[in-house]
C-alpha cells in the first residue's frame, strides 16, 4: 500500500490487535495503522470529518461477532464510506460468514494463520495486492 493514507484495523481483542500490529511492523507498515477497539469506535472514527479516510479497513470479524456484520452493513450503506475496501480477518473459515461477508461486498476474507511467520506472510500478500491495486482514497 504505497499510499500514505491510514490503514484502519478494527479489532476488539487487544492481543489480536497487538499481533497484527507486530506483523505490520515487520513489513514496515505499523506507523500507518490506526487501531480502533471495537466497531463503535471504528464507526465514530470513520464518521469524524477531521479524520483522514483510510485507504483500507481490516476487520477482525471473529472478535467483533455479530457486531462485525453490523459494522460492515453500516459502512457499505454509507455513501461517504461505502467505497473503502474492507478485508475481513477471521479465526476460522465459517462458510456462512464467508458468504454473508461477500454479500456485504468485502474485498477479501482471510483466515488468520495461528503461526506468527505464516501470519506475516499472509499480511505480506495482502500488502502486495493492495499496493498493486489503485484505491478510491486518492493518489497513491
Amino acid at each position: 500500500m504505497p499510499t500514505t493514507k491510514p490503514l484502519l484495523l478494527v479489532a476488539d481483542r487487544p492481543e489480536d490487535a497487538l499481533t497484527i500490529r507486530r506483523a505490520l511492523g515487520d513489513l514496515g507498515m505499523a506507523e500507518r495503522m490506526v487501531h480502533t477497539p471495537g466497531t463503535e469506535h471504528a464507526l465514530a472514527y470513520l464518521r469524524c470529518v477531521t479524520n483522514e479516510k483510510p485507504a483500507l479497513i481490516l476487520l477482525d470479524l471473529n472478535a467483533a461477532g455479530t457486531a462485525g456484520i453490523e459494522f460492515l452493513r453500516a459502512v457499505k450503506s454509507d455513501p461517504s464510506l461505502g467505497a473503502i475496501p474492507v478485508v475481513v480477518l477471521s479465526d476460522s473459515p465459517q462458510r456462512q460468514d464467508v458468504i454473508q461477508s461477500f454479500d456485504l461486498n468485502v474485498a477479501g476474507y482471510i483466515v488468520k494463520p495461528t503461526d506468527y511467520a505464516a501470519l506475516v506472510e499472509a499480511m505480506r500478500i495482502i500488502q502486495d495486492y493492495w499496493s498493486l491495486s489503485y484505491l478510491p482514497a486518492g493518489p497513491r
Binding site: R95, F102, V106, A107, Y129, L132
Partner: protein, 157 residues
Amino acid sequence: MRDSRPVLLAEDDSIDAMTVRRAFRDLKVTNPLVHAINGEEALAYLKEKTNDRPCLILLDLNMPKMNGIEFLTAVKTDPAFKKIPVVVLTTSSEQRDVVESFRLSVAGYIIKPVDYRNFVEAMRTINMYWTLSELPDEKAEDPNAHNQTLVACGRSS
C-alpha cells in the same frame, strides 16, 4: 486461485485476453479461463444455468456494447451474482473510474502492465491474494455444517 472453479475474463482486446491466458499458463494457474468479449457476453455466461459459476471475474472497463461499469452495475444488483469478487483489469488510471468501480464494490483495481514480465507479476499477486482469501461458493458442501450434523446426530442417539 483458492478453488478450481473458472475465472471469467471480460475483455474485448484479443491480444490482452491471450496475454492473461499465457500468464495463467506460466504461473500454472489451473482454473479454466472463460473469455467473454464484452459485458453483455459475460452477463450471458453468468445467466446460463448450465455454466459453472466463476470464482472470480477479471473485468476490463472500456468495452463495446456493455462496458465494465454497466456490467458491474448489473452484477452487483443481482443477488445471484453480487457475491462473486470482481477485479478490474484496465488501462484507465482515471480516478473517476477507480472511485466509480469501488462504489460498485470491486475487490481490486489493477492497471494492466504493458511489459509482459510485469503483467505476469501482477497476475501472480492477484493469484496469491485470491488463493489466500476464502471465496464464496454457495453450492459447495460445507464441511463445518457436515461436522455439526454428525455431532448433533451423535448427541441425539
